[in-house]
C-alpha cells in the first residue's frame, strides 16, 4: 500500500493527515499520482491542479514530479517549508 501524507494547509484543506491506498494501475511516478488525486475533484482538484504550490517527498526525501514511485512507498505532499 502507498502511504500518502499531507502537511500544513494541505492537510487542513483536505481534512485529513493522510491515507493509504493501493498503487493505482498505470501509475509509476509522482506526476501520475498527482493526476489521480486531481481527478477526485473538490479540494483535491484545487490543490493538485496547482502543482507549483506543493512540494513532494518520496520516502522522506525531496523529489520531483518525475520521480518514480512503487507500491509501499511513503509519498508526502506539503507546501514550501517555513521553519528555522
Amino acid at each position: 500500500m502507498l502511504r500518502i501524507l499531507y502537511f500544513a494547509w494541505l492537510r487542513d484543506r483536505l481534512g485529513r493527515p493522510g491515507e493509504t491506498l493501493p498503487l493505482p494501475p498505470g501509475v509509476d511516478s509522482v506526476a501520475g499520482l498527482i493526476s489521480q488525486l486531481h481527478a477526485r475533484g473538490g479540494a483535491y482538484a484545487e490543490i493538485f491542479g496547482r502543482p507549483e504550490l506543493i512540494r513532494v517527498a518520496v520516502n522522506q526525501s525531496f523529489a520531483t514530479n518525475a520521480a518514480t514511485i512503487a507500491a509501499n512507498d511513503e509519498i508526502a505532499f506539503f507546501p514550501p517549508v517555513t521553519g528555522g
Partner: protein, 154 residues
C-alpha cells in the same frame, strides 16, 4: 569525526548547556558561531504553532549538519528545533558551530540556517490576538540565500 547533535523537541533549550556539551573534551576550538531564532512579535501576533514531518525532519537536519561539518571543517555542530505552540518572544531554533577559526564557525552557522529555512520540513501557523490563524508563506529571499551555497552536498 565531527560531533553532530540533532534534536526536535517541544521543550525549551539551554544554549549554554548545549555549548558545553559541544565543546566537552575539545581543545582545538577557536570559535563557536551561534544563531537563535525567536518568535518575532508585531501585527497582533500571539504565537506560532510549529508542525513538522517526523522522520524526514531529523534526516534533513542531520544531512544539513553533516554537510556543514564537511564543507567548513567543523569540530562539531548542534541543531535543535522546537515544535508545538510557541508564544511571541520564545526561542524556536538553535544552531551552534564549533571550529578552529571564526570564518568557518560563522559561515557554517549561516549555511545551516539557510538550508534549515528552505529544506527542513517544518511549517509555521500564525495565531493572532483576534483568534484568526494563517499559515506562514515562504520568503523568496530564503531561497535566494540558500542558492548561494549550490547543492547541499559539500
Amino acid at each position: 569525526m565531527s560531533r553532530v547533535t540533532i534534536r526536535v523537541q517541544a521543550e525549551a533549550f539551554d544554549s549554554a548547556h548545549e555549548t558545553t556539551a559541544l565543546l566537552a573534551g575539545q581543545t582545538e576550538v577557536g570559535g563557536v558561531g551561534a544563531f537563535t531564532g525567536f518568535v518575532r512579535g508585531g501585527g497582533g501576533l500571539v504565537a506560532l504553532e510549529l508542525e513538522h514531518y517526523p522522520g524526514m525532519t531529523e534526516t534533513m537536519m542531520r544531512q544539513i549538519a553533516e554537510s556543514a561539518c564537511t564543507r567548513f571543517g567543523l569540530v562539531g555542530c548542534t541543531i535543535i528545533h522546537r515544535v508545538g505552540r510557541l508564544a511571541v518572544g520564545m526561542p524556536i531554533v538553535l544552531v551552534l558551530c564549533a571550529s578552529a577559526h571564526r570564518g568557518g564557525a560563522l559561515g557554517a552557522t549561516e549555511f545551516m540556517m539557510d538550508w534549515l529555512k528552505t529544506h527542513a520540513p517544518f511549517w509555521k501557523r500564525e495565531e493572532f490576538a483576534d483568534g484568526s490563524t494563517a499559515w506562514v508563506a515562504p520568503r523568496a529571499c530564503d531561497d535566494a540565500a540558500t542558492a548561494r551555497w549550490g547543492t547541499l552536498g559539500a
